[in-house]
């Protein structure tokens, strides 16, 4: 029995200030994903949100619970609480590796039979355009719908690695900036800052390559058999660069649409929009992000 991708979807916002926030982007991607899979929202047992940059940088509750409410995933007023139904939702954070991390968690709960249908959503927006410093990710949301299938292999292996010696290359934080003009203690604002060093892109490639090769080695996979690479690290050119390093030809790389090359947590879903997953036999997913953290997965479509 394998965990398979039933559908994936994205939602984008092209203009501010009237464009939707991170929550609504996740809502839209989740709804489209369910529609593409011909599933109803009440079938969802599990909803994991892996986005990092939310509207207002909400810290409580989990954004996933708001998304669950928005899309109307349970309760069913005709069925009382405690009758074996419901949806469980929570947030995870693993930077650009968040979507693959969420898929790994859903894979575990599908295998145990704890859930039958799970969705991982991710979206990012600049919470305060013009105020935030260094934020360069496009506003986009993504969703991946997962279930177990007795007849297909689906996700067969995951590999995770961290390289803390490069932690300084990618950082983001919210800190108080005093407004010097006021001269009073409490005048100022909390501001988001994102800092990505120039050397991050090259280092992410190196870390991603080593993790991907480790996965391939553990699975006795000849990288020449890979017919689709879905890779992201929040910087342009990463997927092509990784494919070159791994010896996979450029036409086997899932390329994001124009303007979305630096998509952050939703990037794997963005890349899947450009390909027919069902026509690929062996798919290599690789995400790299702050930490440097790398997540890799093998999917047999």
């Amino acid at each position: 029995m394998g965990t398979i991708i039933e559908a994936s979807a994205t939602a984008t916002a092209h203009s501010r200030p009237f464009a939707p926030g991170a929550r609504k982007l996740a809502d839209a991607a989740a709804r489209l994903c369910l529609e593409r899979a011909d599933r109803t929202v009440d079938e969802l047992d599990l909803l994991i949100n892996a986005g990092v940059y939310h509207d207002k940088l909400l810290q409580e509750p989990a954004l996933a619970s708001l998304i669950q409410e928005d899309i109307g995933a349970n309760p069913d007023p005709d069925r009382p609480l405690g009758a074996g139904h419901g949806t469980f939702s929570f947030d995870i954070s693993n930077g650009a590796c968040g979507l693959l991390t969420g898929i790994h968690l859903v894979d575990g709960m599908l295998a145990s039979g704890t859930v039958e249908l799970g969705i991982v959503v991710a979206s990012d927006i600049d919470p305060e355009p013009g105020v935030s410093e260094g934020f360069g990710f496009p506003s986009v949301g993504g969703a991946v719908l997962l279930s177990a299938d007795d007849s297909r292999a689906g996700f067969t292996a995951f590999q995770f690695a961290t390289f803390p010696e490069y932690a300084e290359l990618f950082g983001s934080y919210v800190d108080w900036h005093q407004d010097a003009r006021r001269g009073l203690t409490h005048h100022g604002r909390n501001i988001l800052t994102v800092e990505i060093a120039e050397s991050y892109a090259a280092q992410a490639l190196e870390c991603a390559e080593s993790t991907a090769r480790e996965l391939a080695g553990a699975q006795a996979l000849d990288l020449g058999q890979v017919d689709l690479v879905v890779a992201n690290a929040s910087v342009p050119g990463f997927a092509d660069g990784l494919a070159r390093r791994l010896g996979v030809s450029a036409e086997r790389v899932a390329s994001p649409a124009d303007g979305l090359a630096t998509a952050h947590t939703a990037a794997p879903a963005v890349a899947l929009e450009s390909v027919q997953l069902a026509s690929s036999r062996t798919v290599l997913f690789v995400s790299a992000g702050a930490g440097i953290t790398v997540a890799a997965a093998l999917y047999r479509a």
Binding site: D45, L47, V52, Y53, K56, L57, L58, Q59, E60, P61, A62, A64, S65, L66, Q68, E69, N74, P75, P80, L81, G82, G84, G86, T87, F88, S89, F90, D91, I92, S93, N94, G95, H104, L105, G108, M109, A111, S112, G113, T114, V115, F160, T162, P164, A167, F170, G171, S172, Y173, V174, D175, W176, H186, N190, L192, V194, G289, A290, G291, T293
Partner: protein
């Protein structure tokens, strides 16, 4: 609910039983009484916080302490009471709501799990952060329990450090009356907590059931985000509505989890609820017990001493009771999460070998 476990401790797809191998906590030395906090409010509120909540004091961070240091200290405390070592951990989950590193700077990336993994020497562990309001640690337990029961991993740690006392300081500048939506912020205290889960030896007791669900139609009753008036965060809570909804929802959900484990409510020796207010806990559990017809033998209240320490409350209480020698080996404990979302979570387990790890063997 999403449920794991069953009457024989290993039903529904699980090949193994998981158990709590050790728990740890780090509570800061510095204390602030409710009287001191209410004495610092900007407006004359006439709120008798200690009488309302039963909270006498809470511990708050001192110089050099933050979410990260509290989590690290708690993780080390758990490791010190375990037979294994950090390098044996397969998974590390950090569940802090507050991710303050270096004072009140909120760190988004990299995750706290990257630096904790490095500091602990958990080289092999797959690591990530998870947030689920005050249900975060129990959500991490739910995930680890699932992975251990399947045999996918053997050992994992869930850890949290909460530096949230600044919310109380921010609230003290704005609260005017007992109806303020920032009243709950005045109940908060700082703490770190950690739990190590492992595969139990064959036949040994452990976690009997875990269950979770999200009543998301009430997701907007408690919202926290970076403050507009100063460093840290502000939180706005309709505590009365959350309490009312939770107490109405609990009986059928508890019944579902208890049925899955083949248990009755009065077979629970110690119930450790999320610690919000002593009065709310006592009133709520009285109503729930009346609805179920029976009551657990003991209800644990530590909020008087620590305040509401967010995602860490269950394990701060568990660690205290272990240190105090309050449990017997055969005792059965129910951890109950009620958190913004609204998240309802249940973990039922036998204390067993934990008893002997904290200087008491009964």
């Amino acid at each position: 609910m999403a449920l794991e476990g069953g009457a024989d401790g290993s039903a529904d797809g699980g090949s193994y039983t998981s158990r709590f191998a050790a728990v740890g906590a780090l509570v800061p030395e510095r204390r602030v009484s409710s009287d001191e906090l209410m004495g610092s409010t900007k407006h004359r509120t006439h709120i008798e916080l200690e009488r309302l909540t039963g909270i006498h004091e809470r511990h708050v961070v001192g110089e050099g302490e933050d979410s990260y240091t509290l989590a690290l200290g708690a993780a080390r405390d758990a490791l010190a009471h375990w037979d294994g070592a950090a390098e044996d951990l397969d998974v590390l989950i950090v569940t802090s709501i507050s991710r303050h590193v270096g004072g009140l700077r909120l760190q988004l990336e990299p995750t706290l799990s990257v630096s904790l993994k490095e500091a602990l020497g958990a080289r092999r562990a797959m690591s990530f952060d998870l947030t689920n309001a005050c249900a975060g640690m129990l959500t991490g337990v739910f995930i680890l329990n699932d992975l251990i029961r399947q045999g996918r991993i053997r050992r994992g740690m869930v850890v949290s450090g909460e530096y949230i006392s600044q919310l109380g300081i921010n609230a003290a500048r704005q609260v005017r009356t007992v109806m303020s939506k920032q009243l709950a912020s005045l109940t908060l205290g700082d703490a770190g907590a950690a739990a190590i889960l492992e595969r139990a030896p064959e036949g040994a007791p452990g976690i009997e059931v875990t269950g979770f669900t999200t009543l998301s139609e009430h997701s907007r009753l408690c919202l926290a985000f970076p403050a507009k008036i100063g460093r840290g965060e502000s939180m706005y809570t309709d505590a009365r509505a959350i309490h009312k909804i939770s107490i109405e929802a609990l009986p059928p959900l508890l019944r579902e989890a208890l049925d899955q484990a083949g248990l009755e409510f009065d077979e629970i020796d110690y119930l450790i609820p999320h610690q919000t207010s002593a009065r709310a806990i006592k009133k709520g559990l009285k109503d729930v017990s009346a609805s179920l017809g029976v009551a657990p033998k003991h209800v644990v209240v530590t909020v008087d001493e620590f305040g509401n320490t967010a995602s860490t409350t269950h394990f701060v209480a568990l660690r205290k009771y272990l240190s105090d020698g309050r449990f017997a080996k055969d005792d059965r404990v129910l951890l109950l999460a009620l958190a913004s979302g609204i998240e309802v979570g249940v973990v039922i387990f036998k204390v067993d070998q934990l008893v002997g790890r904290y200087g008491h063997d009964h």
